[in-house]
């Protein structure tokens, strides 16, 4: 990217003007308390934009056909006027933002303000705190490594392995993204010969021993030791949600293959916080672009275009949640509640609708609250804590469901609890089923056993089979998945040759 900044460009009359706009907006944003990274803006045409977007924001990413597929779809979407990417922001320090060259001036203003919202969020939200802020370099490095593997081992072999690894890319521990300990190996075999004896508390005087170490206590201690020993015999000791890490450490892979899996895993962890905070992040950026634009940056001649584009960002289709819209409305809802003091026991217990509606303690804590929320929450917590019944009703949220008789999707429910439950379920583990390695020596035959934590929704069996086949490419011994299909506990297996499903007693 160093090269990118030095790239000779035709002097754009646009560029100086945009720089002025940028500085103005940055000053306003800082005035509101935003603390974005230093942000580098680049102007690109639509083909470049589509290319960068196809690579997930990183034009130097490793080569793979799925980026080519993504590119084709974006190009088609653009050609048919179905979609247009206004902007792309990269979580990096400095932050990089790509703007569409052809955007009108008012769009650029709005987009720059929006970008500063994202940049502030990247920098300050806790879930991003462990992401690599030099990811642009890291990704380029991944690209170089992968290309080197291709040169050495051939396109076919590397691609086939990469396909298999990508098939498992979601199998990381999404709840550890913020943990600084993540990188460390979790398996420590050095203390294999750890204390196996029952520990007694020290007693200064012998005659006190039977009071200080009574039989019940010793019995408890003994059981603890036994458990510990038992656990040590299991492999892994605790179920491993970071399946990729487990594979890197224990699958019989060549070094280059291990490297490919680590590349996939690193990128998954890097992108995870963005998926974990989609609603908050887009809502935050939208909240700030709207505020900055309407409180000063907007010129009278631009009002109509701004309103048009702003509202198209916030448009809703009945069949889907628009994260921009839901996010920004929730942020405003939180701000209003804390401005008016609509929280706490007294407000919660009040069931006089009139009083609730008029409730205003004039607290003015809204701004403080939203800055606090943007620091510590991710989407699941955000929705759980702040999606209220009032909000759900005011914004006409509903649950829809497929009706097989009519072969169509229909509104099923407007009940607040149902809406919230469905939304939270969809966001948990980023909408992916939760799987973990429970046994790396299953049947004492070095088979792999994964367990799906079934939460009421079955896996897609056909895809699960294909994915198991890919997992087998890595593990190279039979792989098994314990799950539930149509209320029956099942063991789905692939032994490198045949797929098999058998009923098992539910665990």
């Amino acid at each position: 990217m160093e090269a990118a900044r030095r790239r000779p460009r035709k002097p754009l009359s646009q560029a100086d003007e945009l720089r002025r706009v940028q500085e103005g907006i940055l000053a306003v944003a800082r005035g509101h308390g935003l603390e974005p990274f230093r942000t580098v803006f680049e102007l690109v045409d639509h083909a470049e934009m589509n290319e960068i977007a196809a690579y997930g924001g990183f034009p130097t990413r490793y080569p793979h056909w799925r980026f080519g597929m993504e590119f084709e779809e974006l190009q088609k979407g653009y050609a048919y006027g179905l979609q247009k990417i206004y902007e792309l922001v990269i979580n990096n320090d400095p932050c990089y933002a790509y703007l569409m060259k052809a955007n009108a001036r008012v769009d650029q203003k709005m987009v720059i303000a929006h970008v500063y919202g994202h940049s502030d969020f990247f920098r300050n939200n806790m879930w991003f705190s462990q992401t690599n802020r030099r990811m642009i370099d890291e990704i380029a490095n991944h690209g170089t490594r992968l290309r080197r593997h291709v040169e050495k081992h051939g396109q076919e072999a590397v691609e086939r392995f990469l396909d298999a690894a990508l098939s498992l890319e979601h199998l990381i521990d999404y709840h550890s993204v913020y943990s600084p300990h993540r990188r460390r190996s979790r398996y420590d075999f050095s203390e294999d010969a750890g204390p196996a004896e029952v520990r007694r508390l020290r007693t200064p005087k012998g005659y006190l021993d039977r009071y200080i170490n009574p039989p019940e206590f010793l019995e408890g201690q003994r059981r603890k030791v036994e458990e510990q020993l038992q656990r040590r015999k299991r492999f892994p000791e605790e179920p491993a949600r970071d399946v990729l890490e487990f594979l890197i450490e224990y699958a019989p892979l060549d070094n280059w293959q291990r490297d490919v899996v680590s590349i996939v895993r690193e990128e998954s962890y890097y992108f995870a916080p963005q998926a974990l905070t989609k609603i908050m992040n887009e809502g935050w950026a939208t909240y700030w672009h709207a505020k900055i634009m309407t409180e000063g940056a907007l010129e009278p001649s631009e009002v109509v275009d701004f309103a048009d584009h702003h509202s198209s960002t916030l448009g809703v289709r009945p069949g889907a949640i628009n994260p921009y819209k839901l996010g920004v409305e929730l942020w405003r809802h939180v701000e209003e509640r804390w401005n008016k003091g609509r929280f706490g026991r007294e407000y919660d217990d009040c069931d006089d609708m009139e009083r609730r509606r008029a409730w205003d303690l004039g607290l003015g804590k809204g701004k403080e609250k939203i800055f606090e929320v943007r620091r510590i929450y991710h989407d699941v917590g955000f929705i759980d804590a702040f999606l209220t019944k009032e909000f759900c009703e005011e914004h006409r949220l509903f649950v829809y469901r497929f009706n097989p008789q009519a072969n169509r999707y229909e509104i099923a429910d407007r009940d607040f609890e149902a809406v919230k439950r469905n939304l939270l379920f969809r966001l948990t583990n980023m909408g992916h089923p939760l799987l973990e390695v429970v046994d790396g020596n299953f049947r004492n035959r070095a088979e792999l056993l994964l367990k799906h934590r079934h939460e009421g929704v079955d896996l897609d069996l056909a895809e699960a089979r294909d994915t198991l086949a890919n997992l087998h490419r890595l593990w190279q011994r039979p792989v098994n998945l314990q799950t539930v299909l149509e209320d029956q506990a099942k063991l789905v297996s692939f032994d490198g040759d045949k797929h098999k499903e058998e009923d098992i007693a539910s665990a």
Binding site: H64, E151, R408, Y409, I411, V457, L459
Partner: protein, 374 residues
């Protein structure tokens, strides 16, 4: 480094790889696509659009017993918000709103190439004076691997210099730059074959009562693939259409495939018209001529059949690259005409006959017609 250039090439590589995978898929299922005839109606002037199941990397994900979600907007319980699968309850693609088939566009040349590879079709040796396929190769890019003879000196040293500067090894007072293996850049090239000849196909079809819709659909599908292949082999391809029952007339493509007549069948009328048409419009020295005739094998009496054989022998064979006769099986047809042809011209290179029993027979029949490379 010229960034724009390198990056655009990078996505082009991934894009090309994606296209290659797609072509592999289509090739694998070519038989199915051919016999279903689904592509025929999807042809534009230069491209064919093909629906493929979406190319996806499989993952563990939720299945179809969870087809719900949260939305926003007006409406009561029961208000429809989106249609389900267009196909009804197929177990295949589809699912929640938004998942869809991949519409892939292939150029006619690409499709022809796939057909050629899958059916192992030989390149046609065109007749006529200028029977050349012009090979044009040109250096089109830079690669990281290649033969030393094609090493790009300047690029290689540029890379080496960049690396030296980055590593801090470069000394401006003593500017020595030594390229490593990783620095080396090579020219890469592409070969393009350009056909130089022209061709015309004269399609003839029996539209008498015994040829039903199913038979016509088969002819239509065959014609599509024959067109596609021959178009890839010649610089210019013209098509002419002749229908006949007891009398023959020239029509346009649309009419050809949809006309329905009743009454008797006199094949000679079509052959007569065909030979006149060729004589009038296509100088054999300039054109490669492909008459194709499709019928269900019924002709009106042996007298007319004799006349047909005569016309073929005297008029058509001398002017055509090869004469192709496709006999589509119908409930009423006797299938006699193919027998007559094969008896009269046994092992004659100028004639190819093929019997098409049903849709699944189309592929083999295409191979019969085009597999000789004439």
């Amino acid at each position: 480094m010229d960034r724009t250039n390198t990056y655009v090439k990078k996505i082009e590589k991934d894009h090309a790889r994606f296209r290659e995978i797609i072509r592999g898929r289509i090739r694998k299922d070519l038989r199915k696509y051919v016999s279903e005839g689904g592509m025929v109606g999807r042809r534009g002037k230069y491209v064919v659009s093909i629906p493929l199941p979406q190319l996806r990397i499989p993952t563990f994900r939720y299945g179809r017993n969870d087809r719900s979600g949260v939305g926003q907007g007006e409406g009561e319980a029961g208000t429809p918000i989106a249609p389900g699968d267009p196909s009804g309850h197929g177990a295949g693609a589809g699912g929640e709103p938004g998942r869809h088939l991949l519409e892939v566009e292939l150029s006619i040349e690409e499709l022809a190439q796939i057909l050629g590879e899958e059916l192992a079709l030989p390149r046609i040796q065109p007749r006529g004076r200028s029977t050349l396929m012009a090979d044009q190769s040109s250096y089109t890019g830079i690669a990281r691997v290649g033969p030393e003879s094609l090493r790009h000196f300047k690029r290689t040293y540029k890379e080496a210099l960049k690396r030296a500067v980055a590593m801090g090894a470069y000394n401006p007072d003593r500017p020595v730059v030594i390229p490593f293996r990783e620095d080396k850049r090579y020219r890469s090239w592409k070969v393009k074959e350009t056909p130089q000849n022209n061709a015309v196909i004269v399609y003839m079809m029996d539209v008498s009562g015994s040829m039903g819709d199913e038979q016509k659909e088969i002819v239509r599908t065959e014609a599509f693939w024959i067109d596609t292949w021959l178009r890839s082999q010649y610089k210019k391809l013209e098509t002419r259409f002749v229908v006949h029952d007891a009398a023959a007339k020239e029509v346009d493509r649309e009419t050809f495939f949809h006309l329905k007549e009743s009454g008797g069948t006199k094949i000679s009328s079509a052959y007569q018209l065909c030979s006149e048409l060729i004589r009038k419009d296509y100088d054999v020295a300039e054109w490669n001529v492909y008459p194709f005739h499709f019928s269900d094998g019924d002709n009106w009496g042996s007298e007319d059949t004799r006349k047909c054989l005569e016309l073929l022998d005297k008029e058509i064979f001398p002017r055509a690259n090869v004469f192709c006769y496709g006999q589509v099986k119908s409930a009423y047809g006797s299938g006699q005409f193919k027998k007559d042809l094969d008896e009269r011209f046994p092992k004659d290179e100028r004639l190819i006959t093929s019997e098409i029993k049903d849709k699944d027979g189309i592929v083999d029949s295409i191979r019969d017609f085009l597999g000789k490379g004439r």
